[in-house]
Amino acid sequence: MSAAISVSGLVKDFGSRTRALDHLDLEVMTGEVHGFLGPNGAGKTTTIRVLLGLLRADEGQVDLLGGDPWRDAVALHRRLAYVPGEVNLWPNLTGGEVIDLLGDLRGGSDPSRREELLERFQLDPTKKIRAYSKGNRQKVALVAAFCSDVELYLLDEPTSGLDPLMEAVFQEVVQELRASGRSILLSSHILSEVEALCDRVTIIRAGRAAESGTFDELRHLTRTSVVVDTAKPLEPVTGWSGVHDARVQDGHAEFSVDPGELNHVLEHLVELEVRSMVTSPPTLEELFLRHYDDDVTGSGAGVAAEVVPTP
């Protein structure tokens, strides 16, 4: 399988003091929906702008649909569609005009597809952009992108402001696009959306790729939670290597274990005569919160508040 997007060692500086991207690696396979996650300010939008040739890479290799996004911007843009994170459109044009305009500038769009999407997203195309709510402006950008039949879709937090009904429509459309073999890079904070849609995810933190892989792969890299009851007292647990966040009361303990140390911890537990034991893989929120929370620049509370938990 070839790569729709292949980025390695990407560096982007703004001025001499701000390094927005710090040797970022990112690979999106053809035909996959790839989740792009990270706390605010981690560099997601900057990455997408480099992929669009709006910003120039300072270092590193960037390959998009087999071309150089800076040099071949126009030719590549005929083959992709983009939904910006912050949708700024011309206040005095109507939604319908903007959809036609952006589709045409991209090299043409399908009129029947346009009508179908307007229907599904319940968007009135005769209103002026300035009269739309934030969610409806977002729908204009989505319809404008989806009515073009292209190979790659770059979606930067595309569902911010959508109601749950429209979120469901968005997920349906993305599933259909995946079924027909399109590649999609989806930057998002909504974990249920990422889990429902994405084949693989990349987590970006302070301009670097912190993790990349399928959900199962990511889970294997992360600590397992253990709840255990033993006949003998469990106090020694706190001293074992690989054990974190232990709460112990006589023969009952709850803690988490590093993936490499699980077998080792089990051996010790057996010596204490296990009566019952539950181990569980980390939930998605735990997985992401760990990455979001460790962010060097972000404060834990502020960053955590940005994450929308799975219902």
Binding site: L52, L54, L55, H77, N88, N92, E97, L102, L105
Partner: protein
Amino acid sequence: MSGFTGTMRLVRLALRRDRITLPAWILGMTTFLAATTALFADGYTKHPQLLVPDTRVVVENPGMRVLGLVTGRTIGGYTLHRDALTLAVLAALMSVFAVVRHTRQAEELGREEILGAGVVGRYASLTASVIVALAANVVLAALLGLGMIVTGQPISGSLVAGVSIAIVGVAFTGVAAVTSQLASTTRGASGLAAAALGGSFLLAALGNMLGTVDAAALRVTSAWPAWLSPIGWGQQMRPFADNLWWPAGLSLVSLGLLSWAAVLLVGRRDVGRGLLPERRGDAHARPSLLSPTGLVWRLQRGALLGWAIGLFGFGLVFGALSEQIRGLEGDATEWYATFGGDVDLLGAYWASMLQIAGTAVAAYVVTFLLRLHHDEAQGTLEPVLGTAVSRLRWLAAYAVNALVGATLLILLFAVAVTITGGLVLGDPAPLLLDLVGAALVQLPAIGVLGGAVLVLVMLAPRWSVGMSWTLVVLTIILGPMFGPSLGLPTWLLDVSPFTHVPNAPAVPISMGPVLGLVAACTLLAAAGALALHHRNLALPA
């Protein structure tokens, strides 16, 4: 809680936001006035015998009275005549932009919503913006007066002079307070206020041109239209001669009435909306919209229509006054020597009018090209460049529209002058040909200024707005309308592209300077394009 709760807090917020903008406007205007006063004072101290004939040129010549009035023989009064219109327009624009920035723009960008959710009264933003603009004009009046005093002019006259400029700003503070309620966009609110400013200039110009000259040829009594215009009120204070204070009261009264009207309007509309209703539009784009050029045309056509109406109106008035110019003799004709008047007086009059119109069209081109920066900074550029549109194609769309817009405007002005000029003089056909030629030779100079704006937007996007307008003012000052009378060295005057515009139809068009300007314009545009091609875009975070 009253409707005005929180006003003083919003005043502090506005002053904090404007801590660079407003001082820059005020200091720039003060420096301009002080510097020109020093130049004129120096010239007339060395050659005192020139002051009376020079004053008579201005008083007797209706074309010069467009710029303002001089009363009696004083250096201060003569200087102010050369500067007053520029300063009055700048004071008005400073006030309009300040009021719109803190009212309509805050609403359009959603800031007003956050403020309005706090303990802030319904009228607080409006009142705060009026207070800030009024305060800026008080400071402006004082500094302008000081600027003339330190260059040796009488104290009472200098103070009246400062006030005569600032009251134009005061009146337009009120105008902007109302237009901010009528229009639902920043651009619309500023545009309506600018249209009122154009009307105000036209009324003052008409009143002065139709006025009567006294026996000593040192005083003009203006006709009634001048009294309908805030610019006219400032001129009627007659600094350094009569030193009248009471016309300033007209401005204060109009500010009071307009602010009261604005408060009433605020009470009748929703936040974020204007009074003019929001209409629905087309569900599908017309084919003409479906290209960068078509999109840019669509975005500018409203503004272009406003400018077109304004320039057509000025053209009709200036054309109708051709008859009065033909009858001029003696001192009054001297000013036209700059425009080839020793050969053909009427031709020189038209040449000078086309230069004024050319300057106005240049201002249009600059506001239009600065949209390139706003597209980039406000994010509307991003979705376009995300499609198969290259940066150069986007730039070209702007260049084409600037050229088309400027050509339409200047030709419209020439046609308007021909219509009324032809009526009063007879024989419009050859006049049309002459004036169309004279109009077209303005375009290369306008293009040079446009090219310079492109370079600024591409190389220094954050500073491009302020630097572009500074450039406009400088090229006007160094151009033929002001430059030669300031006694500045020729090489400095040569910097302004307007210096090189042939004085058609007074003298035949020589192609050398025209081609030179075209080459300069092309070079600047190419430099701008090259810079855009290589740099990062300054997109919103």
